[in-house]
Every structure is written in structure tokens, then in C-alpha cells.
Symmetry: C2
Subunit: 302 residues, 2 copies
Amino acid sequence: MFRKLSQIGEFGLIEEIRKRQSAAKDVIKGIGDDTAVVSFTQNKYLLLTTDMLMEDVHFTRSMSAQEIGHKALACNISDVAAMGGRAKYALVSLGVSAQLDVKFVTNIYRGINKLAQRFDVQIVGGDTVKSSKIVINIALTGEVEKKNLVARSGAKAGDQIFVTGKLGNSFQSGHHLRFMPRQQEAQLIVKYLKPSAMIDISDGLAADLGHIMKASKVGAILEEKKIPLRVNAKIKQALYEGEDFELLFTVPKRNLTTTALRFAQKNQFQLVGQICNQENGLMLLDSRQQHTKMPLKGFKHF
Amino acid sequence: MFRKLSQIGEFGLIEEIRKRQSAAKDVIKGIGDDTAVVSFTQNKYLLLTTDMLMEDVHFTRSMSAQEIGHKALACNISDVAAMGGRAKYALVSLGVSAQLDVKFVTNIYRGINKLAQRFDVQIVGGDTVKSSKIVINIALTGEVEKKNLVARSGAKAGDQIFVTGKLGNSFQSGHHLRFMPRQQEAQLIVKYLKPSAMIDISDGLAADLGHIMKASKVGAILEEKKIPLRVNAKIKQALYEGEDFELLFTVPKRNLTTTALRFAQKNQFQLVGQICNQENGLMLLDSRQQHTKMPLKGFKHF
């Protein structure tokens, strides 16, 4: 009765792991949100997250080494941003073949370091190992004021759903290699809109809204015509392809004062739908004003 | 003029990276010690470290998956221990093929989790990606009382050199897969011996003593007959093979009171030599009472 990973999928595997986890009182949030949240100082939590990028799965050698490095760190900063936090310290592990040009490797680091400088992230350590395929793992810590922490689990029926920026066509356009993590926007969102839930869109709008729905035990309605599309993007890409690394967040109606709405508009945060009761699942209100039940699928890792 | 990694080696690469690092005042120690050390609370520093293990480089599928998992975490705890700290939170990234048995993967996690429980480490997150070769990256945070921090850089001429446990034959004996990180011993060492420098032996006694020598700007004399050998180990293995994951530390003579020496003896901490001036380099006093200059080589990663 051995099962292969391809049969249970990444989320099945994560469930297998989670079952084996022990809960400690200093772990505010463990596996299952954008980052882990643990005790830190009186006013702050420590955030911890990690991402592994693999050659021929997430990138190829024909791409720009600098952009590959950029992306490896940017994904992690995006996760910290989605919790309302600020990225601080990074550990960079790199697996590379002994035959690889040093220039390719140093360009990966150049991409990482350039973004690190821009976001005031310190690269404090790492590891280098021999590997036939290039593999980059970045572990990032961040911190968040306790009052600013936003998880996936706080959305309530009636909350308005927003996204920053445009969605879809991220792979073909190269956006997934060049995006700037929305850390500054997240800070503004937390300050001025006080969102009830937030996540970054890595698996696709439908799947990531699904993560909020599951954690918050709610349903949601998306309005197709309101979903902001990237140039040449199709709605299906915006819904299911992912790698947009925009923020998806929910705001209680009472927070949406005239000032707040003006602020959202000025920053091009787009209202795309509304949270509803859990039994409704995820519905799409299409261009013909028809409601369709949507699958919660997204990018499949296995 | 492109250079290959095999030409410059891992430490060459680390130097390339270090050059690109920015120094921030909250980073007490960045790349170049067992762990990074950054600001935390009034009395404590935060420690950060990471290790990547690669199939067919560090392990093979014919080995026990549980032992592979054990080792992946144990290396990191050993690094935290060598700073005088305690391991706290771990992020586990795993690259695995979709064709791999779930049982192999869950056994890797079982090995990680069993050790984590024993050392009160919380697994708070991670990532899983597709990979033809199995790759495990663990990033670990720890904490250390400021007064207990031990780096590589504090050794002075005259300090006595100690190791915990026995050295050599780690690969063939399987010790490298099963070792228990010396965290508890490190806590005792810090408390009762107040070491001037400490490191864990991963690259071999000569190379890791070399790291202390370089960071502390000192030389050292090792006494061959005092080096404690594992069963069937040869002296060359103890000096150059590594993967022992014992602690190597230096203690100022004034700290070696009768009580301290009795404590060291009781815990089988073995005196193996003495720190001397930098111009002496690393010397071995062999069984014929001859001094030989030793190379600072160790395990070569590329």
C-alpha cells in the first residue's frame, strides 16, 4: 500500500507532516499560513518562512541568473509581507554543479543581494553544496508588530475582497521572475484598511482565496469583470495559474470609510468580490451575471 | 576568464559572497561562523543557521530515511550548540520526485521530528518541491544568552584545546548519520569552562581548528597521542575526514581549576593540544615527539 507523492499531492504531503507536529505554546502559527509566527518580544512576533527553487521545475539555465536569484528572495519577502510584517534576515543555500560557471552563481547572488538591499534584508549565512541541478533555498525571518499581524483565518461573511496589482500571464510575461514583493503596500494596507485576512497569490486567485476560505471557514463570490488582468492575460490564468505574488486581502465593510476607499483606489487596490457563508463555497459571478461554482484548484506542485 | 566552482572551491565561493554582503549594526556575526548572530532581546541573541543535504553527495537512497532526516536536523543543532546556544525553530524544505514512496518521505520527517522532540525544537514550516534527486534543506533558529555566546574568534596563545567524544571513522561507522548534537554538553562547557572559542567538527579536526586559528589569528599544536579515536579510526581520519560533529573548544588556562578539570574529565572532554602564536601555524606533535607542520585541509565540498 505504498503511495507515491504524485498520488497524494503537495498538500496531502503537508497534511502528513502537520499530523506529526507538536504544538508548543510559543508557536502562534505553525505550518499552514504564509509564514510561521512565533514569540519574540513584548510587542512583536518573529516570522519564519522558506522557499526552495529547483532548476527545470521553477526555472531553467536559459533564464537570467540574476532574475532567478531575485525571485528566490522575492517569494519569501512576499510571504512575510502577507502577514503584515517586514523581512529582516535571510539564509541562502545553494546547490550547484562544480562545472557551473562562477559567473552564473555570482549573478544569482547579485539578484538576491540587490533585492535584499532594496528591502533592507541582511544575508547572514547559508550553505553551498554540490548538485547536478541548481537548487536555491532561502529561509527568511521577519518581524511584525503584534497589532499588525494578519493571518488567513480572520475573514468573515460580508468582508470585501481586494487584490493589489494585476493578475494572470505571469509566467509568459516574465512577471514571476521580476516582481517586486508588496511589502510596502502591505504595511499601508495594515495601517489604513485593517484587513481581516491576507495572503499572497502564489497558487492562483482561486486557490489562494480557497486557502483563506478554508482557514476562515467562509465562502466567497468573485466578480469576473472586476478581476484586474495583466496585459494579454486571460481570466483563467488569473484564477488558476498563480505566481502573481500580489496580495489578496479581505476588509470588513465598517473599515471602508470614504477615506479608506479613496486610499485603496489611489493605490490601485481592486475590489474583486465579497466573503459569504461557508456553504456557498467559491462562486464566480460571470460577465452574463450568472453565478458558477468554482473549483479551488491552482498550481499543482506534484 | 570564466572560472568553474571546482577551481575556486566552496570557501572561495563563500568569499565571493561575503564580499557582496552589507554590514548592518544589528548583525553581530554574519557569514563565517557556525551560525549568524543577530540582535534579539536585551539579554539574548538570535542565532540563524542552515544546511542542505543532497542525495548522492551526502546520502544515498540505500540509507535509512529516518537517519537521513535525523542528520539533516542534527547538523544544524550542532551549529547552534557550538555558539553556546539552544535550538528553537526549524523550517524544513524538501525536494522529492513524484515517484518516490510516501513512506520514504514520511520516514525522513520521522527522523527529523524525533530529534526535534528530543531537543525541544519546533518544526514551524517548510516547502516541498519536485526534484529528481532528494534534497533536504533545514534552516534553524536558536537563541543564546549574550554572556554565553562563544565564537571562533576568541582563542589566545596558551589556551588549552579540548574535544568532546571521539573522532575519525565517522562515515564508515555510520556515526555521521546517528550522532546526537552536543547541545547539552555545550551548555555545560559554557557554564563551567567559559571557553574562548568553540566550533563543531564537521570538516575535520585540522580544518576546523584552522577555522578557529584564522578567526582568532593564532596558531596551534595538537598532540597526536591525545586525540581520542573512534573504534577502528585512524589518526588521519580524525584529522582530515570530518563529520564527527563533536565540539572543539579552547579554554584559557586560568579557567582550568581543579574542579573544572575534574568536570572535563568526568564528561570525557579530552585535552588535545594548545593554542600558540599565529606564526607557528598548525603543528602536530607525533608519537616520536617530533613536530610536523600540518596542512589546514579538510573535507572538500567541491
